[in-house]
Amino acid sequence: MSETAILKIRRGQSKTDGRWETHAVPFERGQSVLDGLRWIRVNKDPSLAIRFSCINANACKECMMELDGETVYACTARLEPREMTLSPLSNKILVRDLVTEIAPPAERFAAKEK
């Protein structure tokens, strides 16, 4: 039987009433956690919010999240055939699911203040 990675993902738009969702992702050696999250969007649920631009180069620095409580880049963290817990950065303001406010304040468009 082929191996799977179990991704347990924190979802929601507020830190207080979020929920956990679990997806089984086909595992292939050498893949990244971001590969797993992108697989979920294409095959299971396109509403899962993640942010990334460069996919693989670790150049855009957008895909920061917490893996088992540790801050990682999802593009360089390796997918493993076990349960992996993914949550948004706990020290940043939550936007949705795994997306937090990571831009420097001066470069963030303040929609609410206008």
Binding site: Q31, I50, V95, F109
Partner: protein
Amino acid sequence: MSAEPIQVETDVLVIGSGAAGMYAAIEAARAGCRVLLIDRSLIGRGGATVMAQMTVAVALGAEAPDHWRHHLHDTLTAGRGLCNEPLSRLLCEAGPACIKEMDAWGVGWARKNGKITAAFAPGHDRPRCVYVDFLNTGPAVSKTLRAVVHRTPGIARKGDLCVVDLLKVGGEVAGAVAWHAESGAPVAISAKATIVATGGLTRLYRRNSASTNMGGDGYALCLRAGAPLIDMEFVQFFPIGHLAPRLIGMDPIMWDPFRYKLGGRLLNKDMAEFTDRYGVPEDGKYVITRDVGTYAIIKEVEAGRGSPHGGAYLSFQHVPAEKLREAFGPVIDRLAANGIDLTKMPVEVAPIAHYHMGGVSADVKMQTEVPGLLVAGETVGGANGANRLSGNAITEAFVFGREAGRTAAARVKTMKAAPATNGAARTTVDLIRSDPPKDMPNSAAMLTRLQATMSDDVGPLRTADKLRRALDTIDDLTTALGDRPFGDAGAFDMQRLDWFDLRNMLAVARAVVQAASLRTESRGAHQREDFPEMLPQWRVNQVIRLGKKALDIEQAPASHTGAALEAAAP
């Protein structure tokens, strides 16, 4: 949500914060303009620039005596007769000034004995390509320009603003309407001049070397605003994109700089060199141009002589370990972390979508046909003809960005106030706010399907049948997309983002496929297996406009002539 969009006003709006956008913003601000630099992702982090681990072509004459005319000669030759000669000339002639300015800003071009050094790259007649070690050209360029943008008065920077449509008032472009990803709110930006610097379209393809924000959105924005596109059939594939083993945390185009330095051997499954079969023997040197290299690898795979994952082997096994360490520096350790030891094994490489020669038609001032609308960088079509010379992409980002900034500033000086745009924004604002349709297909899967057909049917080698199949898929997807955005219109709504992306990507894919279908010859990056010859009557640029119901495509004689090539000859 209130009925009105958030209103913002500026002198110059720059869309996209790669090298071209940042250089344009700096230049316009230096001329006294208020500039708003926006990006759909983080400022100066997305796009192609930060991913460019390679080199920058410029006739500095630092390594060997050089003149911009020699660079122009090589650019026109690589372009296979289709270059827009004034644009090519601008790229080559103004390149040195921008490279020197970047040097003064502290980018850190690699030096030997105190002088900027240059590598030899295929298609150039001498060493002409400057770089930043190790594999750091793009990141260093981005970082340097970010710092200059930061300290230049007059530039406001805002990320997560995804432009949905340009604003048109009285036949002129007067800004843009954006979807603010973080909040889901529509934002109407009015500007005296608008510069589109959103890069190319490589995201249309499954395997590509750029960011996910390179879906050709700038081409679609300009097309809908009435500006013509040019040369859309010419998508450059980079022959030796990394294929296997799976490599994470590294850009797939990373092997090129090492081929510049060390040569490296391109091998088939029998561990035999094969490029001589396609007219270019390499003998351990790196001389094969991108179009020929791509063709050779694909044909070798078709003949059953490919590597296990469907590409070719690239081997540095003949290079001593200490020479590898000298050339690769700390990259050797990053490769080791991925289980790759180059002294013991080859890697597998295959063609990967890399750059778009086509784009928005513009003059040497970076003006499109629509007043108020300027373009810069890869968004501009024409400078590189049917095939781009190695190293010209970052150069054109600098040069065209600087020029666009200047032209925008000159326009701003002639205008009293930014035009009122409220009414013009209405349709797009309603689109951004609209409720989703009842049935929503998986938007991420639709994107994957588009990438599959573009890769399989509109890749480097094309036929009428394949192109027809691609058009059918594009028609299907366009129907499935409908006219109302998916998702819930809330914060960071990925389905809505996919929908806006697909709206642009499908329009651009259609332009590529239709132009490729009409061009019944093979030239540069456009190879038709059913029309294998390059034909003199096809020395034309195809110009695409958005008609009432479909795309209108017309052929116009290419601007560069044999005389121009001769005048540029060394």
